[in-house]
């Protein structure tokens, strides 16, 4: 039943996020002729989708939503006054945390796969084609990038209790990270999750066709997943020591 609790606590945020992403995907496809971004050349449909979805607005929105889905947990419950009820249950704090993390990861994965389903399914109805393989590969990149962003929000919630404080801190942390990974000295060692998700400047992405080509960066993706796991482990250790 802890799954049910974790789901109910994130349900509104998740459904709102899913509705927004799905709605925007539909709108981007349906109104693709009117809504094409300005470019100095004739834009292919693949370029349009990449610019508006995978590199553009939707990815930025996804980043924010994944961060916000990570916010919550026992510190927020302490603020609401429900932490004593939760902690009196015969379950460990690790268990509580693990279930919340697992539910969050599933939700982020669903959000990241929404464009992967909607774009290739809807495009033919509008007389366009967007390859399923491209959409699913981007979906995979978004899932792992989203898990990383989710873990940032998750970790911020271990330190900050306020309903908005943790969210603001998570966003600030993400902005700081985004600036830091642009620095040459950092760029070499820390992957830029934004570029990883959009393919910008990546060897597996071709800017002339706007398609993913060649093998995905499995080592980097594995490293990111390791970071996600480490963040959850750190959150668990810190939660274990906290007073409620």
């Amino acid at each position: 039943m802890l799954w049910y609790k974790a789901w109910r606590e994130s349900q509104a945020r998740f459904l709102l996020s899913a509705g927004t992403i799905a709605g925007l995907c539909v709108a981007f496809v349906v109104f693709h002729r009117e809504g094409a971004p300005v470019a100095d050349h004739a834009q292919t449909y693949a370029e349009y989708i990449w610019r508006i979805v995978y590199k553009g607005y939707l990815r930025e929105l996804f980043v924010l939503l994944a961060l916000l889905l990570g916010v919550g947990g026992l510190l927020r419950e302490r603020d609401y006054g429900t932490a004593p009820f939760t902690l009196a249950l015969p379950v460990s704090r690790w268990h509580l945390l693990a279930v919340r993390a697992a539910v969050g990861i599933v939700e982020v994965t669903i959000l990241s796969l929404l464009p992967a389903v909607i774009l290739p399914a809807l495009s033919p109805l509008m007389g366009e084609v967007y390859p399923w393989s491209q959409a699913w590969q981007f979906g995979l990149l978004w899932s792992i990038g989203g898990a990383f962003l989710f873990s940032m929000g998750f970790l911020a919630s271990i330190f900050f209790a306020g309903e908005y404080t943790a969210a603001v801190v998570a966003v600030l942390a993400m902005l700081s990270y985004s600036v830091a990974v642009e620095l040459p000295v950092v760029e070499r060692y820390v992957p830029d999750v934004h570029d990883l998700m959009s393919g910008v400047g990546m060897p597996y992405f071709r800017l002339d066709t706007y398609h993913l080509v060649g093998p995905l960066p499995w080592t980097t993706l594995g490293g990111l997943l390791l970071l996600v796991g480490s963040s959850f482990a750190l959150a668990g250790r810190l939660t274990q020591r906290q007073d409620f």
Partner: protein, 298 residues
């Protein structure tokens, strides 16, 4: 096999920065009886309960609950299977309905009693389909009590359980506590309501400024505790009243008032031998003992 001691702490302390919430607490709570936990606001009652349930880590000292060490997470979790707890705030998951919260809670306990659940739902008139956040404070308290009472735990810990309850519900609560204890459940409850503690508790622990200032049996208090007021012709020396069993002494001019906590007859005889003008011996209530005790600690 029920534990003879359900709670035991040894020099248990909790410090928040420079503030000492609980100081070297040595608490012993017996099984299968009702123990009241009295103290003013901020006395350290809730902090003590939270340490016992593993929510807050002690700064120093040790303790056991149902025989399990409170600082061992796994052992404490096992103990919590046999403990029902109603917290101070009675805040429950507002996004769930009453029915969902009952279903959620019972999934964690093997000792859930569906018949009691049904009876209490009816008795408390809790609307199953209403969201918890839409319940009044009194209804929320009733729901929190239902979640604790619809089980047969070995230990029931209640932190200010009557807060927000109307007199009828409070009466029902006290009856439930008495019948839970009769069924073999140890009840440990903190309260500001001294009258309700006095009505149902068999043992009372008093906490003041984080210190345990009294641990007394109410039967013993009723039988042995006496307030003695003696008037003298001239102002008596307070040293003369340093008698074993004499506490809370106040001298005002030629009148001395104190509480005899044991051998009241012997103490009265001793006072009479001092040739007083008058001696008055009256029983003392828990309220008076509490006020005298915390006044001294101030």
């Amino acid at each position: 096999m029920p534990h003879s001691l359900v709670i035991e702490t040894h020099e248990l302390s909790k410090r928040y920065g420079s503030f000492e919430a609980v100081r070297s607490l040595n608490l012993r709570v017996s099984g299968q009886r009702i123990t009241g936990f009295l103290g003013r606001n901020g006395a350290g009652k809730s902090t003590t309960i939270k340490m016992l349930l593993g929510m807050t880590h002690p700064t120093s000292g040790t303790g056991t609950i149902l025989g399990q060490p409170i600082d061992d997470n796994k052992a404490n979790r096992e103990a919590r299977r046999q403990i029902a707890y109603v917290g101070e705030d009675k805040q429950l998951y507002g996004y769930m309905t009453v029915e969902q919260l009952v279903r959620f809670t019972k999934s964690f306990y093997a000792d859930w009693l569906p018949d009691i659940e049904k009876r209490l739902l009816k008795q408390y008139q809790l609307p199953l389909d209403r969201k918890v956040k839409a319940l009044s404070k009194g209804m929320r308290t009733k729901l929190a009590l239902l979640l604790a009472f619809a089980r047969r735990p070995e230990l029931l810990i209640l932190d200010e359980p009557s807060e927000g309850l109307d007199p009828v519900s409070m009466e029902e609560l006290l009856q439930t506590l008495v019948s839970a204890a009769a069924d073999g459940t140890a009840v440990f409850f903190s309260s500001h309501q001294i009258a309700e503690v006095e009505r149902v508790a068999e043992q009372v622990c008093m906490l003041d400024h984080g210190n345990l200032v009294a641990d007394l049996s109410l039967d013993h208090m009723r039988q042995e505790y006496r307030r003695i007021t003696a008037g003298f012709r001239s102002e008596p020396s307070p040293e003369r009243f340093h008698i074993p069993g004499v506490q809370h002494m106040h001298a005002r001019g030629r009148q001395v008032t104190f509480v005899a906590t044991q051998n009241a007859e012997t103490v009265v005889a001793l006072v009479r031998s001092m040739e007083p003008v008058s001696v008055e011996v009256t029983p003392i209530s828990l309220r008076e003992v509490f006020l005298e005790t915390v006044k001294e600690g101030t």
